[in-house]
Each structure stands twice: as structure tokens, then as C-alpha cells.
């Protein structure tokens, strides 16, 4: 899986005409589209590793669009959700946005708007996926540090000097310098500022 993979757009709508036409429209701009008859059908093959977005009808028999959004939230999915509704109302839109919807469009909507929003959502997903990848890598690097190295790295990114760190940890200044060298090496950074930045990103 990679953020550079071709995007995959998901459409979930109980109305066959709407489902098929949406997918066809999306496919007409060269995007891969997969149509699902219900929330359950979508969840059965759920995978959000590939960049893309979800076009979701709000009112459906069985699991509704808003219900599905909650499920995805619980799964910590990064897949952007664009709601499509034939009878949108303010409270419903508010609830959707609060739950992190990417957008809320009324059917029928302008195809350009729809496709633009789809592209933007895909880009957003790519960004999120990239971010996630980056974080995962950072975490990997952090995980590669020893406990002592992590303690040192933590203190370096907070701006402590070697002497202070040595005193704090009760080790020699020389040992701190050795650990510090290893940390910079393992974390693949060449400055304290860079270390401080990715340490914050990793959100340890």
C-alpha cells in the first residue's frame, strides 16, 4: 500500500439508478469506482488503506449513512466521507460535519462540484495516509531507540543541555553525548530542531 496508489471511490446508495450513475460519472474521469447496495455490503469489504473517498447516501434501509459514519469513526478510518442526500436538512448536516464528514452534498448536485470534492477528498485521504505512513515510520525509528536513548532524545527535544541531561539521568556527560549521537543517527536527523519537530509529530 502506498499513497501513490490509484484512488478507489466507494459509492453506497440503496437506489440502483443513483448508485450506477454516480459510479459511471466517477469512472468517466478515470477514477476507479466501487458501488455498494448498503452499508453492510460496504463494510463487508472494508479497506481504507487505498486512497479514495466514500460517497454515502444518508437514508437507507438497514444501517443508515450516519450510522456507517460512526462505525468508520470507531474503526479510526481516515477515509473521507462525502454525504449525499436527496432531502438534506440542517440538523442532519450538522451531525454529519460534527462527526467529521468531508462534505455534505444534495442530490442532484453539479457534477463538477461533486467530482472536485471527490478529488479533494482523495487528495485529503492521500495526505492523511501519507501522514499516517510518516508517523508510522517515526514510531518505528522511535521504537528502535533504547530506553536510555529515548530518555535522552526526549530531553534533547525539550532543549536541555548535555550537562543538565547527565545530571538528570545520573549518567556521565560523555555517555549522554554518545546516546545523543545514536539518537540523531537512528532518528535520521542532523539538528536538534529537526529532532524536536518530528518528536512532537510522533506525539509521544
Amino acid at each position: 500500500m502506498s499513497t501513490t496508489d490509484a484512488p478507489l471511490i466507494h459509492v453506497v446508495d440503496d437506489d440502483e439508478g443513483m448508485r450506477k450513475s454516480l459510479c459511471w460519472l466517477i469512472a468517466s474521469v478515470g477514477l476507479e469506482c466501487r458501488a455498494h447496495v448498503s452499508a453492510d455490503a460496504f463494510m463487508a469489504g472494508f479497506n481504507d488503506k487505498r486512497p479514495g473517498c466514500l460517497l454515502l447516501d444518508i437514508r437507507m434501509p438497514g444501517l443508515s449513512g450516519l450510522d456507517l459514519q460512526q462505525v468508520l469513526q470507531r474503526l479510526n478510518s481516515s477515509l473521507p466521507v462525502i454525504f449525499l442526500t436527496g432531502h438534506g436538512d440542517v440538523p442532519m448536516a450538522a451531525r454529519a460535519f460534527k462527526a467529521g464528514a468531508f462534505d455534505f452534498l444534495e442530490k442532484p448536485c453539479n457534477d463538477q462540484v461533486l467530482l472536485d470534492r471527490v478529488q479533494e477528498a482523495v487528495a485529503e485521504h492521500r495526505r492523511l495516509l501519507a501522514e499516517r505512513d510518516q508517523q508510522a515510520e517515526l514510531r518505528q525509528r522511535i521504537n528502535a531507540l533504547t530506553d536510555r536513548e529515548r530518555q535522552v532524545a526526549e530531553r534533547v527535544s525539550c532543549g536541555l543541555r548535555n550537562k543538565e541531561i547527565a545530571a538528570d539521568l545520573g549518567i556521565s556527560q560523555k555517555t549522554v553525548e554518545l546516546h545523543r549521537h545514536n539518537v540523531m543517527d537512528k532518528m535520521q536527523v542532523d539538528s536538534v530542531a529537526a529532532l524536536a519537530r518530528i518528536w512532537a509529530q510522533a506525539d509521544t
Partner: protein, 622 residues
Amino acid sequence: MRAGHTDAADPYIMCIGDNGTCCIWNGHLMRAWRWIFLTLFGIVLSGIASIAAPTASLTIGVLAWRGDEKARQQWEPTRATLQAAFPEYNIVLRPIGLKGMEAALAAQELDFFITNPGNYIEMEQRYGASRLVTLESVRVGAPAASVGAVIVSRFDRPDIRTLADLRGKTLLGVSHEAFGGFQIGWGVLQQAGIDPFTDMAGVTFAGFPLDNIVTQVVNGHADVGTVRACLLEEMAQEGRIEMDDFRILNPQHVDGFDCALSSPLYPNWPFAKARQTNHVLAKRVAVALLEMSPQSKGGAGQSWTIPLSYQPVTELFKSLHIGPYTLSAGQVFREFLQRNKGWFLLALALVILAALHVWHTEFLVFKRTRQLKESQEKARLRLAELAHVSRQTTLGEMARGLAHEINQPLGSISNYAAGSVRMIKNGVASAQLEEPLREIAHQAEHAGRVLKRIRGFVDNRASPREKADINALLTEAIDLLGAELRQADITVQSRLAPDLPQLSVDGVAIEQVAVNLIRNATEAMAHQATGPRILQVTSERDKRDDTRLRVTIRDSGPGLDADALDHIFEPFNSDKSSGMGLGLSISHSIIESHGGMIYADNNPDGGLSISFTLPVDQGNHE
């Protein structure tokens, strides 16, 4: 006596006159001119005459009211007188009945005839007979050419004093045809307003001799008798009765007529000539008869006098409706009407009143029927109007679902169209556009169907009863509510029996009932906490009455408590937040107006069933 008389002889009478009759006619002042006249007449007629019979007959018909022999005896004096006057003729008496008289005159078999006044006027009218002289009868005292009647009772009958007392009494006469012996008396009674045949206890005819009548009145066999005037006097003269024993009813007095009398006087019997009989001869006969005196030889008390007017007889016969004035059935009826005018007017008035009453009743019935029809029609129109308003309301409530239903195909079309435009811009081969264009057409059709369904549902056209398929109506209703049902997550189970008979219904109204019931079920299932939401729509023949169809809408909702169930079809009895709560009430009215029934029941396994029945089309409606 009839010897020598033949039918063929009659035409020769004139020729006989021509052959010197005047030569033997003696002693008359007018002889000279008569001779000239007759001679001339004879010359004229001599061309027709061919044979002159030496002795010809003159036939005199005589009414034989007491038998042929009696008649011959009675009129022998007259015959003898004529025979003496006309020796060249053989004078023949021909006794004859009333009917025979008519036939003989019709056949021109008679030259002359003697008959009663009634018969005479009849013959005068029918056969142009004319009287020459009138009989004078020798009565008590002087001879008289008039006859009258006397109506008598016993003097010692205090209950009979005037004609008015005769009602309910019995009357005795000679015979129905007797002129002096009944008809004159009858005329007197008639004049007094008494019809002897209906107002009296009975009329008896004693026959001849007339004396019998008097005797029977004396004996008390009859209350009153009517006899020829002067009979009493004759009998008294003979010492057979005492005049004082009798009471003369309706006594009349005519100067010169001395007998007791109850009636006007009428002329006596006439001696008449037949139409074809020669006037000259007739005149000679008349002269001969006038010269006959009761005292003359062979006169035997019989004599003739100048003819009296028979007009009174005509009047009498007219009033009695006898003789020539006998009434036809129609005349009898008219006469009856005339006589009972009062009663008829009353009856007519009653009939008219009854007719008016009947007419009035009919009119009222008609009016009430029309009013009823009008009010029924008004009620029907009101229901139709209310149903229409309700449909519009329902449609308003369904707007979201319907909008969704239309929006879907529109959105779909929009997507295909926009995508196609993009493809064309990018120079895509037109073959690739086939699929989206086909889809556009498909989706547009779908939207059109939805709109048609909506329009059909809310149409306010006058909805006549038409043949309709209940399953088609139910399917239409389910389709109309498709979006709503899907969004409410309701599974529809249609159990529509195939081959159901047709209904004769207002299709839109019945669809409305189905829509109302399905929406009601949908709302009920919105309160359903657990389990699948299932709507069952069933159509079948009614198990209890196979002339009816039964439709059941069954939901899986919470059902209703007993109280709510009792009032479910009442208006404004809805706990629904939306709508007017009229849906079920209107459904109830619609089903009833179609002759159907509607029921609501809780299901044993939960939920509510509403079912309705409708009569199947028997094919005999207009």
C-alpha cells in the same frame, strides 16, 4: 180471407183505379175533379201496367194483440164497411204481431194497417206510414178518440194517497206492450219521478182481460193497478164494482172526458196507410171510414174520426224509451248517468279526489325520492370532495418520500448527462455514450411513472364506478409509497390472490384507502422497537361471502388498546403528530359508500390488521 191476395197484386192497385173505379164512387162533391185527376194519373201509369186483374185485394194488417181470431172479430166491422165501399176489391184483414207488422211493411205486403198508437209512431218513423183516421171507441157516454189511463188502489189503503206513496208498492198492468193498459200509466209514474221497475216493489202483468187488474187490486193481490180509463166506469155500470171502493191516484180532468183519469189523453188506435199506397185510394178509404158510424150497419160500436196528433205518443215513448226510442246500451248508460247525475258527480268528485290524492302521493314520493337521491348525490360529492382534500393532504405528507422518489431518477439523469458532456469534450467515441443515454431514457421513464402515479392519486376528476382489478390498485398504492416504506425500513409482503373477479369501484378512492391503511401501518411500525418491520398486503375472496373480496393490511407494530380500537375509524381521533387524523375515517366512508365493510383487529402475534371487503362486480350495474 187472404185468398186472392198476392204480393204481385199490390202494384196493380193504381191500374185498378184507372179501370173505372170513379164510375162506381157515388155521392161526393169532389167527384168531378177527382175523376179528372185519377184519369190523368191512370194514363200516366198505364204504361207501366200490363195486366189488369179482375178482382184485386186490399190488405189491411191488423195488430193481433189477443190472437188472430180476436183481431179478425174486432176489426170485422171496419173491413165490412170498406168492402161495401169498394166492391171491386177484395178487402183482406191480415192479423199480425208487432214484429210481423214491421216485416210486412218493410216488404210492402200491406196496403193499410190498424195498430196501437205506439206501434204506429214506430212504423211512421221507419216506414213512412201515415195515419188516415183515428179510432173512436164507444165508452161510457160518448164515443171518444182518446185513451187515457187510471191508476187505482183500494180506497181503504191509508198508506196510498198520492203517486209518491207508490214507492215500494206493487203495480199491476196488462203487459209491457199494452198502451192504455200499462204504458200510459207508466208514463204518469215516470213523470212523478218513479220508475216502476226500480222504485217499486214489483211490476206484474196480468194479461187480458183488463178486468183482472181491477179484481186483483180489490183482492189485495196488488197494491195498485193501471188500466185504461173508463174501464172502472164500465165495470161499475155492469154492477161488478163500486167506484167508491177505489182511490184514483193523480186525478186529472179533461173537458169532454167524463171518466176518472190519472193521465193525459192520448189518441186512440189509428188506421194508417203504407208508404207506397196510392194517396187517392187512401183518401177514398179515409172518407169511407169517416162515414162509418157506430150505429151504421155492421158498425158494431166501431167508428173512425179525423186523425188526432200522435205527437203525445211520441213524447211518451221518448220519455219511456220504448218503441222507436228504445235505448241502445250507450243511450241507456247516458240516461242512467243523466238520472243519477248527483251520484255520478259525487263519484266523479271522489274519483278525482282519489286521483288527486294518488297523484299527490306519487308526487310526494317522487319528490322525496328525488330529494333523497339529491342528498345521496350531495353526500357522495361531499365524500368525494373530502376524499380529494384528504388525498391532497396525504400527498403533502408523502411529499418527502415522493420527492425522493423523483429526485433519484433526476439525479441519476443529471449524472449521466454531465458525464456524457465531459466525455464528448474529451473526444470519446460516440459508441461509448450509448450506455449513459440508454440509462437517461430509462431513468426519465421511471420519473414519469412516479409523476403519473401521483397525478392519478390526486386527480379530482369525477370518478365513476369502473371495472377495476383490486390487485392493480393495491400494487399502485404500494409503489406510490415505495420511498416511504424503504426509508422506514419496512419489508412489504404482497400476498395477492390471482384470478380475482373484477370490482366496480371508484379506483382512485379505493387506492386512497389502500394508501391510507399502508401509511397508517407505516406510522404504527415507526413505534416498533424490535424485530423486522413487516407489512403484509393480502387480497382474497372473502371466506364467509364469496360475492365479496377481502383486502387485509397487516403490520408488525405495537397494535392498539381496546379503547383506541373502538374509535379507530372516527375522525380526528389520531395520535399521529402529522396529518389531520382523517385518513381512516375517510377510508371507512369510502368503503361504506361502495357497499363494503371495514374492520380493525389486533393480531394474535402482535401488530394491527385492518381489512375491508368490497362486493365483486356482478355485471348488472348501469
